[in-house]
C-alpha cells in the first residue's frame, strides 16, 4: 500500500488493482476530508468546500472499473474522486489550500481539481456542466476508435437540471460511449430529494432516453464496480450510454458552513451502520487479506501520512503573481504544456 504514497497519479491509479489498496484509498479519502475540515477551521482554506465522507466506495469503485485514459468529469464534490482516480493527497490538499503544489497550482481551489494524466478534467462548479462535456469526450474517443469511454459523475439534485436531460438524450441518439453516474446521496444542498424530485430513483429516467438504468448499493465498493462493469463494457462495444445510480450518503453537510440540521433523526446513524470502509474491511478480513486489526493500523498510518502531506503543503508557496496571467489563452505566458489524451 505504500504505493499509494507515490507522487505519480498514474502509479496510484494502477495500485487500485490491489484490493488492499482500494481499502487504503477509501481510508485515505476519509482522512483527507477530515483533515480538510480541520484545515478550514485553522484558516488555511478559502471560499467553500464540499466533503464526500461516506461516499468513498463510489469514488474507488468507479476509479477501479475504468482505465486512466478514460475521461472523467466531476463536480465541486470531487476530492474523493480525484484521490481515487490518482491525484495525490498533496495535489488535492495543496489545491484546497491554494498552494503551487496543488493540482491546479492553487488558482482553481476546492471546486476545480484536475489531473489529465488520469483522465480527470477540471471539476466544474456549475451544476450539470460536466454531463455534456463528457458527451464530447466520448465523441472524441469514438472518433479515435480507441475504445475509451467517458464517465460523468454528478449528484441526485443535478438530475433536475436541463443539461442532464439534454446530455442523456444526446448521448443516447448518438450512441456515445459515456456512462452517467448519479451519486444519489439523498440531498441537493439542504433539500432532501423528495422535496425536489417526484421520483425516488433517478435511474428510472433512463427510460426517457431508451438507455439502461441501473441502481447500485454505493456503500459497497464491489457492488459499485459490478454496476459499472456492464455499462463500461457496453460503451466500449459502441452500444451507447447508460445511467447508473449509486445509492449513497454524505456524512457531513453540503459545505463547510452547513451543520445539516435538516436531516431526519436517525438517518445519519442508519447510514453509519453501513459505513463503506467498514463494509469493505470486513470483507477483506473474511477474505483473509486483512488482519483483524489491519484497518486500525491502516488508518493510523494513513493519518500520519496525511499529516506529512499537510506539512509539505503548508510549506509550499502560494502561486506567484505571474501565475495569474499564465494560461489565460494561447497568447498568455506559461508556455505550451498541452496534454494530448491517447497520444502518449
Amino acid at each position: 500500500m505504500t504505493i499509494s504514497n507515490s507522487n505519480s497519479p498514474l502509479a496510484r491509479r494502477e495500485a487500485l488493482k490491489n484490493r488492499l489498496d482500494q481499502l487504503q484509498r477509501m481510508v485515505e479519502i476519509r482522512a483527507v476530508e477530515n483533515r480538510i475540515q480541520k484545515l478550514f477551521a485553522e484558516g488555511h482554506v478559502r471560499g467553500s468546500t464540499h466533503l464526500a465522507n461516506g461516499q468513498e466506495a463510489v469514488a474507488v469503485g468507479i476509479a477501479r472499473s475504468i482505465g486512466p485514459d478514460d475521461i472523467v468529469t466531476c463536480t465541486y464534490r470531487g476530492h474523493g474522486h480525484a484521490l481515487a482516480l490518482g491525484v495525490t493527497p498533496a495535489g488535492v490538499i495543496g489545491e484546497i489550500c491554494g498552494r503551487t503544489i496543488g493540482c491546479a497550482g492553487g488558482v482553481g481551489g476546492s471546486m476545480h481539481l484536475v489531473e489529465p494524466s488520469v483522465g480527470l478534467l477540471p471539476t466544474a462548479a456549475i451544476i450539470g456542466a460536466g454531463l455534456p462535456i463528457a458527451c464530447g469526450a466520448a465523441m472524441a474517443a469514438r472518433a479515435r476508435k480507441n475504445g475509451r469511454v467517458a464517465v460523468a459523475i454528478f449528484g441526485d439534485g443535478t438530475a433536475n437540471i436541463g443539461a442532464f436531460h439534454e446530455a442523456l438524450n444526446f448521448a443516447a441518439i448518438q450512441k456515445l460511449p459515456v456512462i452517467f453516474v448519479c451519486e444519489n446521496n439523498l440531498y441537493g444542498e439542504y433539500s432532501r430529494i423528495n422535496l425536489t424530485t417526484p421520483v425516488e430513483d433517478i435511474a428510472v429516467r433512463a427510460s426517457s432516453y431508451n438507455i439502461p438504468g441501473i441502481i447500485a448499493d454505493g456503500q459497497d465498493v464491489d457492488k459499485v464496480a459490478d454496476a459499472m462493469a456492464g455499462p463500461v463494457a457496453r460503451a466500449r462495444r459502441g452500444e451507447g450510454p447508460s445511467l447508473v445510480e449509486m445509492k449513497t450518503y454524505r456524512y457531513s453537510g453540503h459545505s463547510r458552513s452547513d451543520p445539516a440540521t435538516y436531516r431526519p433523526a436517525g438517518e445519519l446513524d442508519a447510514w453509519l451502520k453501513r459505513d463503506p470502509i467498514a463494509v469493505f474491511a470486513d470483507k477483506l478480513i473474511a477474505e483473509k487479506s486483512l488482519a483483524p486489526d489491519g484497518l486500525e493500523k491502516m488508518q493510523a498510518e494513513t493519518n500520519e501520512a496525511i499529516e506529512r502531506v499537510v506539512a509539505e503543503v503548508l510549506e509550499s508557496p502560494p502561486p506567484a503573481l505571474s501565475d495569474l496571467f499564465a494560461h489565460v489563452n494561447g497568447q498568455s505566458p506559461g508556455g505550451d504544456r498541452r496534454y494530448s489524451f491517447w497520444r502518449n
Binding site: G98, G106, V107, M111, I126, I161, E189, S322, L324
Partner: protein, 335 residues
C-alpha cells in the same frame, strides 16, 4: 443606532415587501426551509407560508421562467439566483422573454419580477463563482439592473425593485452579506432606481463606482491627499448620466472603478458618455480602474492583488490628479 449585518437588510426588505404586498412571492434553491444559502431569507417561510416562500429544484431555467409567467399573471416574484454565474443556464428567460413581454404585448402584459443574485469576488470562491457579469444583463432595454452597496441601499433598492413594474435584476455583492454596519431601518425608505448618489463629495476627481467597490472608493478617498468625489451608480441601467456629468463638470476628472474587465465593464459606457458630453472640459484623460484580463484566481494572495484595493485606487486617482496623465494599471509591469 443598531449594528446589523448587511444580509439582514436583504431579509428585512423581503419581509417588509411581503407584508405590504400579498402578491410578492419568493423562489429559489433552499430559500424556504433552510432560510437561504446565505441566510438572507431566514424566517420568511414560517412568517409568510409555503405558498409564498418556495424552495425549487436545481432548475434555474424552470424557476426563472416560472417567475416570468407568474409576474405576467399578477404575482410579484422575487427569484434568488444563488451565484450570478448560474444565470448562464437560464439567461434566455430574463433577457429574451421577460425583457420583451411588455413590448410584444404593446403594454398589455408586464413582468414585475425581481432577480436577486449574489455576485462579485474576494472570498476565494474561484473563477466560476466570483464574477459580477452585469454585462450579461445590459442591452435589454426592457430590463433594469441595480447593484447594492450597503445596508441602506440594499434595503432601498430591493424595495424599489419589487415595486417597479418592470423586471429588475439586483446584484448583491456577496462579500457585503457578512459585514456589519450601523443602520436603522425605515420601512418607508426607498433608493430610487435610475438615480446615482454622491457617496462622498470632492473637488479634484469624480470616482464612479458601484457595489462592493464603493467601500474601496470611500476608503481610498478618505486616505487620499487629493479631494475625490465618490459616486455610487446604484443603477447600472438605466444609469444616472446627469449626476455623473454634473460631478465631472465640477471636478474636471473622471475615474471609473469596477469589478470587471475593460471590455465587458459598464465603465466603457460611462467614460464614453462623459468623453462625448464633456468634451474639452476634462483636465485629465478619463481613466478606468478595472480587473486584469484573467479569470478570478482562488489563491488568497492572488485574489487580493487581482481586486482593486483602497491603496491602489488612491494611488491611481492621485497620480491622475497630480500629473493629469493616466497612470498605468498595476499589471502593466507585473504581467
Amino acid at each position: 443606532m443598531a449594528k446589523i449585518w448587511i444580509r439582514q437588510a436583504v431579509l428585512r426588505a423581503l419581509d417588509d415587501a411581503m407584508s405590504d404586498d400579498p402578491t410578492v412571492i419568493l423562489m429559489g434553491e433552499d430559500v424556504a426551509e433552510a432560510g437561504g444559502p446565505f441566510k438572507v431569507t431566514e424566517g420568511l417561510l414560517a412568517k409568510h407560508g409555503p405558498e409564498r416562500v418556495i424552495d425549487t429544484p436545481i432548475s434555474e431555467m424552470a424557476f426563472m421562467g416560472a417567475a416570468v409567467g407568474a409576474a405576467v399573471c399578477g404575482l410579484k416574484p422575487v427569484v434568488e439566483i444563488m451565484f450570478i454565474e448560474f444565470l448562464g443556464v437560464a439567461l434566455d428567460q430574463l433577457t429574451t422573454q421577460a425583457a420583451t413581454m411588455r413590448y410584444l404585448s404593446r403594454g398589455r402584459l408586464t413582468t414585475p419580477l425581481v432577480v436577486r443574485a449574489s455576485a462579485g469576488a474576494g472570498q476565494g470562491f474561484g473563477c466560476q463563482h466570483s464574477q459580477m457579469l452585469d454585462h450579461w444583463m445590459r442591452g435589454a432595454p426592457g430590463l433594469k439592473l441595480a447593484v447594492t452597496s450597503n445596508a441602506r441601499t440594499t434595503y432601498g433598492l430591493l424595495r424599489s425593485a419589487i415595486e417597479d413594474p418592470d423586471p429588475v435584476v439586483v446584484l448583491e455583492p456577496r462579500i457585503l452579506y457578512s459585514e456589519r454596519e450601523e443602520h436603522e431601518f425605515d420601512p418607508a425608505y426607498r433608493t430610487p432606481l435610475g438615480k446615482a448618489e454622491i457617496a462622498r463629495p470632492g473637488k479634484d476627481a469624480t470616482l464612479v463606482t458601484c457595489g462592493a467597490m464603493v467601500r474601496v472608493a470611500n476608503e481610498a478617498a478618505a486616505n487620499s491627499n487629493v479631494s475625490i468625489e465618490v459616486i455610487d451608480l446604484l443603477t447600472l441601467w438605466p444609469w444616472d448620466r446627469k449626476t455623473v456629468l454634473e460631478s465631472v463638470a465640477r471636478t474636471g476628472r473622471l475615474v471609473t472603478l469596477e469589478e470587471a474587465t475593460a471590455s465587458a465593464g459598464w465603465g466603457g459606457d460611462v467614460v464614453a458618455t462623459v468623453a462625448e458630453e464633456a468634451f474639452g472640459k476634462l483636465k485629465a484623460p478619463p481613466h478606468r480602474i478595472t480587473l486584469p484580463d484573467a479569470p478570478i484566481p482562488y489563491s488568497g494572495v492572488l485574489e487580493a492583488r487581482y481586486l482593486p484595493n483602497p491603496a491602489y485606487v488612491g494611488e491611481q486617482v492621485a497620480a491622475l490628479v497630480s500629473t493629469n496623465k493616466a497612470p498605468a494599471p498595476w499589471w502593466r509591469n507585473a504581467a
